[in-house]
């Protein structure tokens, strides 16, 4: 007779802390599950935090779209936990058709990794792969859809700087239309009680965004008014030269975050950017480098901690952790 597994049910919620096989998006997470993940991530913050709990585990980072920071962050997170991390980057052009995509996924699956971290340029592609493999899948960004670890690291950064998320006014500014970071943050910060605003020129706002956030603004000054947090989004170069806005300098004039414009926000405002930044386009260098108000480097640091927590939690079942 085997001993009953110790209960990991959280007595305060009466629920399993994280009843998910994959991390495909934050839209599927209950608020307490997201908070629990953030608490787990807190435990991994710090220069000296490493472990060998994932020793012998293989983690494959399959990136079908270019990435430097997210890939690096996942790689470091895996290595700090003692896992064998393998990166597979596929140029956007060579793998475009999906049977190849599913074949690639099945090939990776047959190598029996303990987790797959996937980025893909098409919305829903990561979910499609997750349906065909038998290990946990972490979404590292799919098209315009979700980027859950980014939203979690943003939430963690805000929580550490501000001590809370609930009740804060968060202005997310820039290319909302094409941004998976914005979508994931709308869902996560909204569910954690922040008053989320979307600020963008009308061409980059996206339809019905007012259904996803508390308020939408097309004026930066109005959108920043009394904000506790300002999150700038990257504007892709090909979209700032006449496609969606006429020119970088016009964009900067009306939507760039400058010290002057930031005066509309609260004095202790936290400035964030998922990176890489276009200095002089969406953000002025003086603001980006403001060591008091900018949380940009802290976001990078939180990224590793959040990804360590996600890799730990999602592989617990396979590692035979009691209760999982």
């Amino acid at each position: 007779m085997t001993a009953a597994a110790p209960s990991i049910v959280d007595p305060s919620t009466g629920a399993h802390p994280f009843p998910h096989r994959h991390l495909l998006g934050v839209a599927g997470l209950a608020p307490w599950e997201a908070v629990w993940l953030l608490d787990e991530a807190e435990g991994w913050i710090g220069r000296a935090k490493r472990s060998d709990i994932l020793r012998g585990c293989t983690i494959i980072n399959a990136f079908f779209e270019n990435s430097t920071r997210t890939l690096l962050s996942f790689e470091i997170a895996g290595k700090r936990l003692g896992a064998d991390v393998v990166n597979m980057t596929v140029g956007a052009s060579s793998v475009k058709k999906g049977e190849t995509l599913l074949d690639t996924a099945l090939t990776l699956n047959a190598m029996h990794p303990q987790a797959l971290v996937i980025r893909h340029g098409a919305s829903g592609a990561v979910q499609l792969i997750s349906e065909k493999v038998d290990c946990p899948v972490l979404n590292a960004g799919d098209g315009r859809h979700e980027h859950p670890t980014q939203a979690l690291l943003d939430a963690l950064t805000i929580r550490r700087r501000k001590g809370r998320i609930e009740g804060l006014t968060v202005a997310i500014c820039g290319d909302i239309l094409h941004s998976r970071v914005a979508r994931s943050n709308f869902a996560l910060l909204g569910s954690l009680g922040a008053k989320v605003r979307a600020v963008a020129p009308p061409t980059l706002l996206g339809d019905a965004v007012d259904r996803l956030v508390v308020d939408c603004f097309t004026s930066m000054d109005e959108g920043l008014a009394d904000a506790d947090v300002v999150m700038m989004l990257r504007l892709q170069r090909e979209r700032m030269t006449g496609g969606y806005v006429p020119s970088p300098r016009e964009y900067f004039r009306f939507y760039g975050l400058t010290a002057d414009r930031l005066k509309h926000a609260k004095a202790d405002v936290l400035v964030m950017h998922p990176g890489p930044m276009n200095r002089g386009v969406e953000i002025d260098s003086a603001v980006a480098d403001d060591i008091v108000r900018s949380g940009v480097t802290e976001q990078v640091e939180m990224g590793v901690a959040v990804r360590m927590a996600c890799l730990d939690v999602l592989t617990r079942n396979q590692r035979g952790v009691a209760g999982w």
Partner: protein, 399 residues
């Protein structure tokens, strides 16, 4: 051989002789093979006005005896020889009436030889899966086609607005992160084509109208006396945009699925006769075309086998009578495309189906006889089933 259909719910006796309907009513000839319809309905063989594949097995199982074939073939049907060949694809059991490609290679630039194609048997010409973006080309096409009294079948969407969109603009597409085009992209295309029809006197058939706004435009054009007709496929009156939840590529349609208000407007348009035709848009797709990320998957779905039961939902829900539903798949497309059949009358071709409007069954994609099983209606319970299909006096399929 002489056949006599008796005991149908809607006909007394129908006699078939020499591949034609010989008599409606009257005595049963002594030499006739009597077919007892047992209270089921007897109807003309369905005419499916707008399919992408002449899938004979699926058509016969669905009671379809004639199809109007879209020119989107490989190569496109832009040549009289290809039109002649296409007419032989389904014979003898299903007759294929091809539409000529309106422009060479369906590229929307140069007019194709639509006159020669019509002489070779094309029943109209079509812009294909997409609209002709260049209004000048569309204008000249309709001017030219009017000279042959040829119907132009249009896919009405504003091509520049539609771009690479795979969904209808709105909260749902935004949440899903799908590239979306506004529903009014269709209304713009419809408005343009209606205006060109008015200017040229050309007969226009808009293959699919799927939004409230474009249906209103067609309704107003008909009230002005324009020679315009339009159609729809079941997916646009049965499903709305949320059917693609989970990135279900089988529910990817072109035009994309709409908001529920538009879906209900389609039903209203069918009920008041603004929408003339119900077609299947039968478009079998392989796994390679569908098991892809949503935006990379091709649109389209099979539908020949399920056309009748899905259309009958309109009758069972009280939106239309069974006769009106049948007319949208028989007499009306026959009139628009000048086809024989579509009616039960002496001298008409003996294309007939026997169906039970209340037989309930469950759609099963795995059991489909179509060349692929890509239907978003898999496992759906439906009412109404064809039990016998007769083509040219021959019983070509029975349950």
């Amino acid at each position: 051989m002489t056949l006599a259909f008796v005991n149908a719910a809607n006909h007394d006796v129908v006699v078939v002789r020499d591949r034609l309907i010989a008599a409606v009513g009257g005595p049963v000839p002594g030499d006739a093979r009597v077919i007892d319809c047992a209270g089921r309905h007897l109807a003309p063989g369905l005419i499916d006005a707008g399919v992408f594949a002449a899938d004979a097995a699926a058509c016969l199982a669905g009671g379809i005896t004639r199809v109007v074939l879209m020119p989107d073939r490989n190569p496109p049907l832009d040549d009289p020889a290809l039109i002649e060949f296409a007419q032989r694809i389904g014979k003898p059991d299903v007759w294929v009436h091809p539409l000529a490609a309106a422009t060479r290679g369906l590229e929307g630039v140069e007019l194709a030889e639509i006159g020669l194609c019509a002489a070779a048997g094309a029943v109209g010409c079509a812009t294909g899966r997409s609209s002709i973006a260049d209004t000048g080309v569309m204008h000249r096409l309709m001017q030219y086609a009017s000279g042959f009294d040829m119907v132009v079948v249009s896919h009405a969407e504003d091509a520049a607005l539609t771009g690479d969109a795979v969904a209808t603009t709105g909260e749902f597409a935004t949440r899903m992160g799908l590239a979306a085009a506004p529903a009014f992209a269709e209304a713009l295309g419809v408005a343009r084509d209606l205006r060109l029809a008015e200017a040229t006197g050309c007969r226009l058939h808009i293959r699919q109208v799927t939004t409230a706004e474009s249906i209103d435009l067609v309704r107003a054009a008909k009230a002005r006396g324009l020679a315009v007709t339009c159609g729809v496929t079941p997916v646009h009156f049965l499903l709305n945009e949320q059917s693609v939840t989970g990135y279900r590529t089988f529910a990817r349609a072109s035009p994309p699925l709409r908001h529920d208000d538009d879906r209900r407007a389609v039903i209203a348009g069918l009920a008041d006769g603004t929408i003339d035709v119900i077609a299947s848009g039968h478009d079998p797709r392989s796994q390679e075309d569908k098991r892809l990320p949503f935006a990379d998957a091709l649109p389209g779905m099979t539908g020949a086998e399920t056309l009748l039961p899905l259309a009958l939902i309109l009758a069972h829900d009280g939106a239309m009578s069974i006769d009106a539903v049948l007319a949208a798949m028989t007499a009306t497309p026959a009139r628009i495309f000048g086809l024989p059949g579509g009616r039960i009358a002496p001298g008409a071709p003996a294309d007939l189906i026997v169906f039970d409007p209340h037989a309930s069954w469950r759609i099963d994609a795995d059991a489909s006889v179509a060349s692929a099983g890509n239907t978003p209606f898999d496992a759906m319970a439906v009412e109404g089933r064809v039990t016998m299909t007769v083509k040219g006096g021959d019983i070509v399929w029975s349950l």
